[in-house]
C-alpha cells in the first residue's frame, strides 16, 4: 500500500513540476550589441582590395586577443601598414593570382593578417618575423621598420628587394607554404633526403652555421622537415637563379641534396596545385623589381 502512495505522490509531483512554469516572452532586443565603426580611407581601401575580392581581413590595429602576451610589442604605425598592405597585395596575392588564378588565391591564401609594429624579441637576441596559425592567420611583425627597409641598409641589408624578402615577403610565402602543406601534406620522400640533418631549436647555434654544406638552403631549414620544405619554397621563389646557383656552388657536394629536395617541392606544387614554381618565381621577381624601381605606388588609397 505504502508503495502505491509513494508512486502516486511521485506522479503528482512530477505533473506539478512539468506544468507549473509559464513561458516568459523573449526580450525583442538582443543582449549582444555591435559597436558601430567609422571607416577611414585605409579601411575603405582594404575593403575594396582585400575583403571584397578575397575575403581577407587585414587587422592593422592592435587587438589584445590577436597578440601574443609572451612578448612585449607595440601596434603598427598606420602609414607603414598602408605600405605593407600594398606590398603584400602586389608581391604575393597578385603573383598567385597571375600564376594560379584568382580562385586558387581565394581558396588557399590566409584569411587574416595581423600587423604589429615591432619584432617579437626573445631574450636570446633572436626575434620573430612572423607566425602562421591554423592555416588562416598570419602575424607580420616589425611593420614600423618598412620605411627603413625600403630605404636600404636596415640591419645591414643594402639590397632592398633582398631586405623586403628577408623581413616580410619571404615570411608570407613561407607561412603560405605551411598552409598549403596543411591542406595537402607533402610527400614523405622529402623528409628522407636529409633525414638526420634536422636539429630542431639548435639551428641558430654556431655549430650549424654551415647550412649549405649540410644540405640546407638556410639555417632555419635545419629545424625540421616541415620548416625545410617551407624554406625551400619561399627562398626559391624570392631569389634569382644566379643567387641560387651561387648557393649551390657553396653547398659543393651537398648541392645534390638541395636539388633533390627542390625537385620534390616543384613536383608537389605542380601536381597538387597546378603551379609551375619557375613561372611563379619569374612573376614574383618581376614584381619585386617593379617595386624596387619605384614603379608601384605603395601609398595611394584611391579606389578604382
Amino acid at each position: 500500500m505504502k508503495k502505491y502512495i509513494y508512486y502516486a505522490l511521485v506522479v503528482v509531483l512530477a505533473v506539478t513540476a512539468l506544468s507549473s512554469c509559464k513561458e516568459k516572452a523573449l526580450d525583442p532586443d538582443s543582449i549582444i550589441t555591435v559597436g558601430s565603426k567609422t571607416q577611414n580611407d585605409f579601411d575603405k581601401w582594404l575593403e575594396n582590395n582585400y575583403v571584397n575580392p578575397y575575403n581577407i581581413l587585414v587587422k592593422y590595429r592592435y587587438e589584445m586577443n590577436e597578440s601574443d602576451y609572451n612578448y612585449y610589442t607595440i601596434p603598427a604605425d598606420m602609414d607603414c601598414s598602408i605600405i605593407l598592405a600594398h606590398l603584400v597585395k602586389y608581391l604575393c596575392i597578385d603573383s598567385y593570382d597571375e600564376v594560379a588564378g584568382v580562385d586558387f588565391t581565394r581558396q588557399y591564401f590566409p584569411k587574416m593578417f595581423f600587423y604589429i609594429g615591432e619584432w617579437e624579441y626573445r631574450n636570446n637576441g633572436t626575434f620573430i618575423l612572423g607566425t602562421a596559425e591554423g592555416g588562416k592567420k598570419i602575424l607580420l611583425s616589425g611593420v614600423n621598420y618598412i620605411p627603413l627597409v625600403l630605404q636600404g641598409g636596415y640591419q645591414g641589408h643594402t639590397d632592398v628587394s633582398e631586405a623586403l624578402n628577408h623581413f616580410y615577403i619571404k615570411t608570407i610565402h613561407h607561412e603560405f607554404t605551411h598552409i598549403l602543406n596543411q591542406t595537402k601534406d607533402f610527400p614523405s620522400d622529402f623528409s628522407q633526403v636529409t633525414p638526420t640533418g634536422y636539429v630542431t631549436d639548435s639551428w641558430s647555434t654556431p655549430e650549424y652555421a654551415n647550412n649549405f654544406e649540410r644540405g640546407f638552403i638556410s639555417t632555419y631549414a635545419q629545424h625540421s622537415d616541415r620548416e625545410d620544405f617551407a624554406e625551400m619554397m619561399s627562398i626559391y621563389v624570392t631569389n634569382s637563379q644566379e643567387t641560387w646557383d651561387n648557393w649551390m656552388t657553396r653547398a659543393g657536394a651537398s648541392a645534390s641534396l638541395i636539388r633533390t629536395k627542390l625537385d620534390i617541392v616543384k613536383n608537389y606544387m605542380l601536381n597538387t596545385f597546378g603551379i609551375d614554381l619557375d613561372q611563379l618565381r619569374a612573376t614574383v621577381l618581376r614584381r619585386q623589381s617593379e617595386v624596387v624601381s619605384g614603379m608601384v605606388d605603395l601609398t595611394s588609397l584611391e579606389i578604382n
Binding site: K2, K3, Y6, Y7, L9, V10, L13, A14, T16, A17, S20, C21, D29, I31, I32, T33, G35, T38, N40, Y60, R61, Y62, E63, M64, N65, Y69, Y71, Y72, T73, I74, P75, A76, D77, M78, C80, S81, G117, E118, W119, Y121, R122, N123, N124, G125, T126, F127, N144, Y145, Q155, P206
Partner: protein, 453 residues
Amino acid sequence: MKKIFSILLTAAVSVFVFSSCVKDDEEVFEKSASVRLSEALTTAQKVLTGASNGWAMYYYPDPDQSYGGYMYTMKFTDTEVTVASELFDEAYTSLYKMTTDNGPVLSFDTNNYAFHYFATPSGSSRNLYGESGLYQAYKGDFEFMILSATADEVVLKGKRTGNTIKMVPLSGDMQAYAKDVAAMAEAVFVSTFNGTIGSDEAEVYLDLSSRWAYIELKGEKYADAEDGSAESAYMFTEKGIKLYKPVTVGPYEIDELVWDGDKQSLVSPSGSAVAVNLVGSLPEGWHPYNDFLGKWSLLCFDGAYTHKGVEIVEDIKGKSYLIKGLSDQFDVKATYNLGSGQISINVQTVGNNGTYDVLMCAWDSNAGYITWNTAIGMSGKFVAPSEGAEEDGSTIQWSDNGVWGSYTVDAFYLFFFQGSTRISASSAPWVFNQTFRPKNQYYIWGWQKMIRE
C-alpha cells in the same frame, strides 16, 4: 531497498518542483551587461573628447613603477588622438579605440611615436628610438581599463602593469604644458634634500634617473619606527614632483611637492595640510651634463703616458654621450648620472663584425683580470681648474666604478664574442686607433684622465 529508491526519487522530484518556478527573477540591472558596457564606453568617449584643451596623463610604465612616471598630454577626436610628452619635442597623431575586451577599455591601437615609447622593445640592434637590448621594453601599457570617467578626472588601469593611471583635464595648451613639465624635469637636478616635514626633521633623496623618492623622518622617535620612512615612484609636473600614490610617513601624508628653483628646495603646495620645507644640496663634485661635452685629451699609457684626442658628443640629451676618436670603426657609449653628476663608461657591445659581437671589456691590467659584466666600468668626475691656474685645465678624473669588488678597472679590452662565449681578442678594423696603443690595438690601458683641449 525499493523503499529507499522511492524516497530518493521523491526527494529528487521535489527538488525540481520547488526550485523550478522561482518567481523573483527580477534583473539587478535594468539593461543587459552588453548594453551597459557600450553605454559606459560612449560616456567615457564623450568625456575624453569633451575636454577642449585635452588631458594630462600621469603615466607609469612597469608593474613596479621602476622607471618612475612621465607626463603625457593628449587630445581626442572621435577617431584620433594627438599626444605630446615631456620626452619628445613634437606631438604625434594616431588612432585610438574604445573597446570591450576587458571591460570598458581605451586602447591606443596604432603606433604613436610619443605614446608607445615605453612599450617599444628592442633587440641587439637599435630600434626606432636608438635603444637596444630591451626585449621587454619598459613594460609600458598602451591599453587601459577605464575605471571611472568624469569631466574632472579619468582613472585608468594599465592592462599589463595593473598601474593606476590618472588623467586630468588641461586648462591651457597641451604642448606648452608638456614643455613646462620637461623644463621642470631638467630644472630639478638636486637629489638630496634636508629640512622639515610638519614638525619633524626630515631627509628626502630623489633618485633622478629612476624617478623614485625616498623620504625619511629624523629624530629618536622614528629611529626604530617602521613608518618613519617611505618610498615611492614619482613624476614631474609643471610645479614640482608628484608621487605615484600618496605615501604616509609618520603622521604625515605626502602626495605632491613644489619646486622652488631660487632656493633649490621642495616645499608643500599651498593649502596643504602638512608644511614641508626641504632644501637641496648637491653631492660633492656634481657637474651638469653639458660640462662633459667637447674635445678632450685622454691621458693613457702607450709605453709612456701620453695625451690623445677624443671628443665627447651628445647621444641622448641629458642621459648619454658618444665618445668619438677612440676608434675609426665605432664610438664608445658613456652615460651621465644625474644624481652624482658624473659620467661613466661601462662594459659594452660596440658592434658586430658579421660573425661575432665585439665587446669592450673592462680590464684590471695589474691583476690581469678581465670582465664582461656590463655593470662594471669606470666613472669620471669633472674637476674644474683651480683658481689662478695658467691653463684652462678642466679635467675628467677617471676611476673604477666600485662594482668589481677587489679588482680595479684601469683599461678596456676588445674581444670577439659569439653569444656569451669569448672567442678571441678583436682584430682590425674592430680595434682602437693606433695613437692610443701602437702595437696591440685591441686594448687601451693606463686610462687615467681627460684634459680639456
